[in-house]
Symmetry: C2
Subunit: 342 residues, 2 copies
């Protein structure tokens, strides 16, 4: 054990500074100011309910990691125009639309520590405002004049929806394999991370090799990000997460921690998972028992290990780019994502 | 009164043949075969639920009037390429996505004479498959390489969503004015009709004047179409409509027939509308009484008069085009839409 040196940032127990999103936030801050202004502007409408509902989610303190990826990717590629701002806004609106529709699909009560929009304004408005934001996202992409960016992001929109439908289909099925689970994750989460990073290279007119490298960076980062999310859903604290712990359990989602615990579990334990997740019969203490089973089989730790594996793939994908501050920030963002506790 | 001459088509009581969609259907049939194949192909996915759910709606015998408008507009403009097929498919997918989301928003049980998809597969899948079809629509637009078509159709996507949200906001409010109602109609229905027609001129590289003429044609046709829809919702028969009569009443939508009857009604009648539509307290015979009130104040006939007015605007907009079979079919389609009984 190294000596813990207290300083401005957090430190890990071995004395190395905790990886942070700060360098990425700092480098992108000027661009992100433009993007945040554009987000507020494009969430406007003469129909008052739209900015009200959209603003509720937009102002709820998401990390905006996806648009930061677009900005950093473009800047790392030497881009000096302004279209990356429009692309980044489009990416964030696609994400916001997905969240609004997800909350309806999952019947969630909370989002980012606040009441979900659907609880305040209803499912109907959440579906329609999501559609509106998606339309605005495409309008903004058109303004960049890049058909290739439009192709990549419209393809991502399809893949994300496919992933969500697939998740519906495998949900409540404890026989879900790790492969099926990964397919869901690659589609519903990694597709937007990879598109967000890739369009940064495309708008910079960089060669296909660099586009694909950023695509791989984003894809693997997205997988890692989602695996950590799924682990934290059982292991995090409500205050840090900004959403309820155990949401996935209550919504009967089959995520990797459960898949591993189910496979490694005894027959009575499997019966427990079947009762709670397949049949949906959940008693008060079941979440605590579920957490105990995940602990017993090391499922959370193993899920985080898998996340670190994809994090490493993500970082390796950037090897072809010359070292600079942007690249360093993108690399540290990966470390942050796999070590985050919220 | 003229003599009624029985012949192959329907005849009006004055002896003129009933306007028909047949000429438009006949002229576009070759293109529509390609479009229908493309629709089936692009509704596919390795996630089985997607083609199942999408196919349920796609194969339920909609008239496909919107993609026919795109085809006929392009052909009237002398287009000889194949991109109009892709645009027409995109238009139909945007429409299908809207229907899927609408059924969730309206909590409808029936659509085109069949159980609504949301009843069979649930709201969740309907939302997500709608998102998938919207993504596929944009992918297909990108394939045409026309940024202007992408601009027009993504703008339409925003306006449609805005119209739907506005409808939510004014629904259940008997104080809704005819102006507010028209705003909803222009957005939620006419926006896609106008975009569908306009992109036909855009893909044919026709001058702005012709694009705008087709835009006006589609917009006014869309308004007329929706007004007739709203009239038929109270006046049609279930068998002919393929959906339940009185849906709007049950969903407490304020449409033009009601706005007119409310304004022309006595105080007790207004209390009836407030109880049934604002407060949502509806008894068994209330729909029949509502229909009687609409009859008493001539609201259905007046709504159809308004529709004919917009139909005339729609036809006049095509004056700048040279006469040919395509134009004739587009003109007759307007007459069909304002005289239809289903």
């Amino acid at each position: 054990m190294g000596v813990v040196i207290p300083f401005d940032g957090q430190v890990e127990s071995d004395g190395r500074p905790q990886p942070s999103l700060d360098p990425l936030v700092r480098l992108t801050s000027q661009d992100m100011t433009l993007i945040n202004d554009l987000i507020l502007e494009k969430a406007q409408s003469h129909v008052e309910l739209i900015p009200q509902l959209a603003g509720h989610l937009i102002n709820s303190g998401g990390k905006r990691i996806r648009p930061m990826l677009t900005v950093a990717a473009a800047r790392m590629c030497g881009y000096s125009g302004l279209h990356h701002v429009k692309l980044a806004m489009s990416v964030e609106f696609m994400h916001t639309a997905t969240l609004l529709h997800d909350d309806v699909v999952d019947e969630s009560d909370m989002r980012r520590g606040k009441e979900a929009a659907r609880i305040i304004w209803g499912n109907q408005a959440s579906v329609l405002v999501g559609d509106y934001l998606l339309g605005q996202a495409f309008k903004m992409m058109v303004e960049t004049g890049s058909l290739e960016c439009l192709r990549i992001l419209s393809e991502a929109a399809c893949v994300i929806a496919e992933g969500e439908v697939l998740q519906l289909a495998v949900s409540q099925d404890t026989a879900t394999t790790e492969d099926s689970y990964l397919k869901v994750v690659v589609s519903k989460t990694a597709a937007l991370f990879s598109a967000a990073a890739r369009v940064g290279a495309v708008i910079s007119n960089r060669p296909r090799k660099e586009q694909e490298a950023l695509e791989a960076y984003g894809r693997n980062l997205g997988i890692a990000f989602q695996l950590i999310d799924d682990a934290l859903d059982y292991a995090g604290s409500r205050a840090a997460m900004g959403k309820s712990v155990g949401d996935d359990f209550r919504e009967r989602k089959i995520t990797l921690p459960v898949i591993l615990a189910f496979r490694r579990g005894s027959e009575p334990e499997r019966k427990f998972w079947k009762r709670t997740l397949e049949e949906g019969s959940q008693a008060n203490d079941d979440l605590i028992y579920a957490q105990k089973l995940l602990e017993r089989h090391g499922s959370i730790a193993e899920t985080m290990n898998r996340a670190r594996h994809y994090g490493q793939l993500s970082k390796d994908a950037l090897a072809i780019f010359a070292d600079n501050d942007w690249k360093a920030a993108l690399l540290e963002a990966v470390d942050f994502c796999v070590s985050r506790t919220h």
